[in-house]
Symmetry: C2
Subunit: 435 residues, 2 copies
């Protein structure tokens, strides 16, 4: 039934990844650290389909996302559907749907896959997974403290030292104050300036200055000066009234509490904007401090009016998203990646295929006691079977043949150093369980 | 920035599911049982993107799937892409891509989400998750024995008794022998008959007879008689040469070994066809034995030429797929569903918001010792905070106030029975860790 005329490529779709066992091992490692820290803080896992009604993204995101970067198509029933590019609209939808029943404060996390139509390059793929952590129902600074502490604890769980990353802070309220109150700019210009400022770190000082000048002729020098403030105090000196802005007023308290939590590097950064429209207060972004690679790792912030599009009442919320590709890059760069380990304990070979049944019986007895055992059912010679065990990374091997079947004793060999132990069948599980 | 004019629906896309914490708990429970049994047998997890090149499904699946049931669309670069409707083409692609490096026998599992454009109804959704278990490189019956044993062990891990389900067996070689050799039918008629036979259980005997007659006038009575054989021996009596067909010859051995493994109900079923083209030998399907609901639960079989479309050499393979919706229905029907349990150990309330910092400090100390603790950071009264803990299903609660801060002693209350224990701060983690 198979035609070999049209040979199909073995490549995955452009910009997405296959996860072979070694890749999956790393992915599982990353997800496990993320989940267990979130659970320590009392966060509960939720999930949803990658397929969402397209209208969910029309309301809130920046135009760029809806128009150019999503996977949006019509289903066979002529509905517009989108492969979710982010999780926040989904959690907002789910919370709005059961707003009355859900116990507040609500602490939820999820590790969804997200799609963006981008040109694939290092650290930028079309599908990535992203831990999303959100707390709903807390309007005080305690929510920011908790969420940033949690993010920092995940970094530590990956083995990161506190000086390997820094947290940059800003407030959307402060940015709005600068743009709309202090400089009194019309929305269009403010928006263009915000977009430009987001990329400030990627250009030279004169280039930034020139581009600001293109947008706002009159007040450009003042804007550049404000955006160059290197501390909150410097900024307040330039904008005395900003000290009274809600959120900004207790940035020092936030910094103090995060330092108590062991986060050494916390910087105020007036140029921090983050893309999304929906932030309403504190925004933060975590950066790698490696001098060769001061990448943004992940970020988040406060968004107190996310449920508005569902016609639901305001609920204060703080959250962040942390991507698997960025994290994998980070732990790789800093030499923190885990070594691949097979989760199988024992590889059972046979001197010939006639002992398959005996080998399987041994495996079944071990499995009943919780020991994972894989039986080589191939027609390979013993030496090749052992090589297979090594290639798979299974730590122990035993070979079943005439002697083993008649004596019911098995030689258990540790492949790492060749150490051997002869054990009666009933003692094998105990031997492994004691390890 | 939020307009309330266009209110967006809080419903998910038609036919897909939201996973609120209780749903996720069940999903996690199901996935955990599936994974841990697969791991006991030495299977390693792999994964891939839900987005695949559409051509992957054009080669092998039945026409119906490609034309009517997939989510296929053009990406912005004019590539045809499909949301995978099944995992087998993906694993075949991945194995073909690294055929030379991968250690055989290869044992892989995955729990992907799959999409089909269907009319949603009970047990039939547009997105479901499905455990896929596959062994490559074993041509002997040992592969069938292992895979069906593993499937049966997963059922037992869900609490199923051996008499709650039965395994039906058939062989594609036998079906082909009946259709092409014994009845000497042309491919078109054979195909139509196969499709009809797949639905035999859903129609009356006369209806089946009539529809067979519509397809093959001449030999219809003989076909009906063969398909009514209730045992392998009955069938062999009708088709003496079939006893020599590879695979069928050792069906009795397969039944014997599965019985040894504790599977009580094993039936030979000549009408078992399963949809996919790619089976080449044994096929099996597991049915619920509940008399009110003899549903098919899941199935699989041998497909030894799956890699052909990638122009790779043949590798023998046996596998099965087990869906989350069907499993959830089964465990629900048989009263085996787990009771929801919060994974958080302690809920920390406060007599007033001024003790937030103290409550957070207590939580942090507990988290450092591996105890999950959630702090109520709301402005609710104490009674409401305790109600929140109850609603969340957190088993223990403590309240931080003046007395607790000054004495550093905390009253830990078990919400299920109201039992209380007063413990010094440093003793709380030990108290929980000892449980």
């Amino acid at each position: 039934m198979v035609s070999k005329i049209n040979t199909i490529s073995t490549m995955p779709y452009k910009g997405v990844r296959d996860f072979y066992p070694e890749d999956m091992f790393l992915q599982d490692y990353i997800f496990e650290k993320m989940s267990s820290v979130a659970r320590l803080y009392g966060y509960t896992e939720y999930g949803a389909s990658v397929l969402e009604p397209a209208e969910l993204y029309r309301a809130k995101s920046g135009d760029e996302i809806v128009n150019e970067q999503t996977y949006t198509f019509k289903d066979r029933g002529d509905r517009d559907v989108t492969l979710r590019p982010e999780m926040t609209p989904t959690i907002a939808r789910m919370v709005a749907a059961r707003k009355r029943e859900l116990p507040m404060p609500l602490r939820w996390f999820s590790i969804p896959n997200l799609f963006r139509y981008e040109s694939p390059q290092r650290g930028r793929v079309r599908e990535h997974w992203q831990l999303n952590v959100d707390i709903f129902g807390v309007s005080s600074l305690d929510a920011e403290v908790e969420v940033i502490s949690l993010a920092s604890d995940i970094m530590k769980a990956f083995g990161a030292k506190p000086d390997m990353f820094e947290v940059r802070l800003n407030s959307r309220l402060l940015t709005n104050y600068i743009l709309y109150t202090h400089l009194a700019l019309p929305e269009e210009k403010a928006h263009a300036l915000l977009k430009l400022t987001d990329r400030k770190d990627k250009m030279s000082e004169p280039e930034f200055r020139e581009k600001v000048l293109e947008i706002i002729a009159e007040k450009s020098e003042e804007y550049v000066k404000i955006m160059s403030a290197s501390s909150l105090d410097d900024l307040i000196a330039l904008l005395p009234n900003s000290a009274k802005i809600e959120g900004v007023a207790n940035f020092k308290e936030l910094k103090r509490r995060l330092r108590e939590h062991g986060i050494q590097n916390i910087r105020f950064s007036p140029t921090l904007t983050r893309g999304f429209d929906y932030y309403t207060g504190t925004i933060f972004e975590v950066f790698d401090t490696d001098p060769k690679n001061r990448r943004s790792l992940f970020g988040g912030g406060r968004y107190d009016d996310l449920l508005g599009v569902f016609d639901a009442d305001r609920i204060p919320a703080v959250g962040f998203g942390m991507g698997d590709v960025t994290v994998a890059d980070f732990i790789d760069t800093h030499g923190l990646a885990p070594v691949y380990k097979s989760l199988t304990t024992l590889y059972i070979g046979r001197t010939s295929e006639q002992f398959n049944v005996n080998a399987v019986q041994l495996a079944e007895k071990l499995r009943q006691k919780g020991i994972s055992a894989e039986v080589d059912l191939s027609d390979k010679k013993v030496g090749e079977q052992i090589k297979t065990a090594v290639k798979k990374g299974v730590p122990y091997v035993t070979i079943v043949g005439d002697d083993e079947v008649s004596s019911n004793n098995f030689k258990i060999k540790r492949l790492a150093d060749g150490q051997e132990e002869i054990l009666g069948e009933s003692a094998i599980a105990d031997f492994f369980n004691a390890k």
